[in-house]
Symmetry: C2
Subunit: 412 residues, 2 copies
């Protein structure tokens, strides 16, 4: 029976949660704020629920510096995969809406639809899934593959980001999409892509980023984005809610009849940002318990780091730095999966190449690390290897412990 | 500070939960099965998660007698409102798929689509929302209003069910939809509708029922249905998961390109039953914590009632009977909202007509009942009045306490 305090869990998500947050949540589940009722029993229309939602939104905006005059923070359901679809529906709708507002007739719109493109930069399994969902919902001819890092890599595998000079962006795309951190191979964009930056006159593409696995871990230039979304279960809380930060002008949708006439898809009501925004995320029954937990995570971050997300970023850099350094110190024993310039701070993926039998070496690595309380280190089922997910709840001491083990294992 | 044991909560959902289930869940949140990790931290791909899902499915099938050779039990996300859309996508897809399997050419299908109808029986706010979603996604001409109980009522309000002899069913409808229990006005179908029953040769309409608010409270003739769905947060658990029980032959979908050609909508991946079924409800990260809670609710029901849901049905009948009898004993003080033959066992809706000022009388009723620990009795914001939601977790003793108060208040 391992004790909680002896374990550092490195799973890729659902992820480790701060123990004190779980303890508070457990108490609130039975009796919230001395009301005699649990937080999951109170009505989502109660003042308790409204306060929890509004506080979580305000704390998220504060921690990440989201300009709330220009952006809505929405609590959605159905996870990151739900957002893969929501992005398509809502931004194609916004694309039509904008042309309509500029005076386009229905026949102008019908012509424009023929060349409708949604741009996708594919750097791993998640952005690829999202790209495929756009093709499924719109027709493959409308989903443009800006870059696929398998194609630009000598290995034919994910693990890099195609140089921006080789991206084939569409000039009038409805939006450009990328995944800021790919968890399977540990590929993270080092910074906001140069070629997607707004021009001096403020014009530029509508940029969408999936930040499910690195949100709250470094500052974000929010105003460069149309939509930022993330599932809760890595750095924000537990599975069950998804957040979309959406630029307000992209929210209104054209009438369904027009979209049908144009042969374009209409969002189901639960994936329509407009219906969620108009109801302060309560179009239907949201899990207020999940929002409460995320709110507690934010309060803990805000009280830990006076300089907010920049404070967490320093710690995240440090944790990743310690582990990558330990791996680099033994190039004969470990092979880091991603290219150096795109190494993820969140998911540190490597192979154990000690000896002839990689499989046996990795099994030994996992067995010995688990015995030390370093758990959840097995790589994604699709690629194998080792993956250490250093999400926000993994403490610096945990990273030091793992680095020490990496060293010891190499020497043994 | 009210103590939990002194409160009987009558809220319409999220609803009261069994205290022991919440206590188990609170412990599991911090340390699940002595693993040293909480249930919401373990991977949804772990054996723990698989076991929790499979046990909950098996227990649900056992409790409700679901023939699992013919039906899939799916854990979905996005709530009942998500299912309003999912039903349209998946059953229109199944309608196309069936015609295609019978040899229809694309041009046959294009002709058939012109007369595509989805039948909706509207008996309250929830079935109305679902009807509107079908019209939004397909075009209003494809959503057929079989009956609207406001139109067949002398009051012009919900509170009854249009007699079946006045229903305008479509002979070749893709499906027929109704809401088994409407929470706002307290209208429940007394039994499976006669005119939707399968014929002797087994043929009959594909019937869909929203059972969000009365599931697990009475036996269901599952084989009469194509789809039964329900949100968890009334009788099954806490908000965050939704269950769809779907007849297996209705799950496969036509290729997206064909649906686009026919001008019909394609489900977003998270609302496509096929993708959820193929992944044992784990297409993406489901809240295993929510499934765990529902599983514990089922285990409690199964251990309480040797004759399974029939046992709960007796208790539900008894609770509702006690409360309705108390109200009927004072016809000058209380007016029950729904017609006698469709009174909900789950949501008991009434007005307090004592004296000239209904509003003042209802305020007094709420104030005095709350003081006694009978809370959450306020009617839905759209209609006012009093609503006592006697969901499964409300004990018989709670119903007796409320009935006694109804009596006392009338006499005072």
């Amino acid at each position: 029976m391992p004790a909680r305090e002896d374990i550092t869990y490195w799973g890729a998500g659902p992820a480790l949660m701060p123990t004190d947050v779980l303890q508070k949540a457990a108490a609130a589940l039975i009796n919230y704020n001395d009301t005699g009722l649990g937080i999951a029993e109170h009505s989502h229309r109660s003042q308790h629920a409204t306060d929890i939602i509004n506080e979580a939104k305000a704390d998220l905006a504060s921690y990440l510096s989201v300009p709330t005059d220009k952006y809505e923070i929405l609590f959605m359901q159905a996870g990151g995969s739900g957002e893969f679809s929501a992005v398509v529906y809502n931004l194609v709708g916004a694309w039509v809406q904008k042309k309509k507002a500029a005076g386009a007739s229905d026949s102008d719109l019908q012509k424009a639809v023929l060349s409708l493109k949604c741009d996708y930069i594919v750097t791993g399994g998640w952005s690829e899934k999202s790209y495929k969902e756009a093709g499924r919902l719109l027709g493959e001819e409308h989903a443009n593959l800006v870059a696929d890092s398998r194609k630009s890599s000598s290995t034919g595998k994910f693990g890099s980001i195609t140089p921006e000079s080789d991206w084939s962006l569409t000039s009038e795309a409805a939006y450009v999409y990328y995944c800021d951190n790919e968890t399977v191979d540990g590929v993270e964009f080092p910074a906001f892509p140069e070629s997607l930056k707004p021009k001096a006159d403020g014009s530029g593409p509508i940029v969408v980023a999936d930040m499910s696995s690195n949100i709250l871990s470094r500052p974000i230039p929010v105003e460069n984005y149309g939509i930022i979304f993330f599932g809760a279960q890595k750095n924000f809380g537990i599975a069950g809610i998804t957040v979309a930060i959406v630029r307000k002008d992209l929210i209104p949708q054209p009438p369904p009849a027009l979209m049908r006439k144009l042969g374009l898809p209409i969002p189901p009501i639960m994936l329509q940002y407009d219906s969620i925004a108009k109801n302060n995320s309560l179009y239907n029954t949201l899990s207020i318990f999940d929002v409460y937990i995320a709110g507690q995570v934010l309060k803990k971050l805000l009280s830990t780091y006076p300089n907010k997300v920049a404070g967490q970023a320093e710690v995240s850099d440090k944790k990743a730095g310690i582990i990558y350094s330990a791996l680099e110190a033994h190039p004969d024993v470990y092979k880091i999966v991603p290219a150096q310039n795109v190494r993820s701070r969140m998911n540190i993926c490597f192979r154990v190449t000690k000896g002839a039998d990689v499989d046996a070496a990795e099994k030994a690595f996992l067995k010995e690390s688990t015995a030390l309380g370093l758990t959840g280190l097995k790589g994604h089922r699709s690629v194998g290897g080792i993956r250490a997910s250093a999400y926000n709840s993994v403490p610096l001491a945990g990273a030091e412990k793992l680095a020490a083990f990496i060293n010891d294992f190499a020497k043994s």
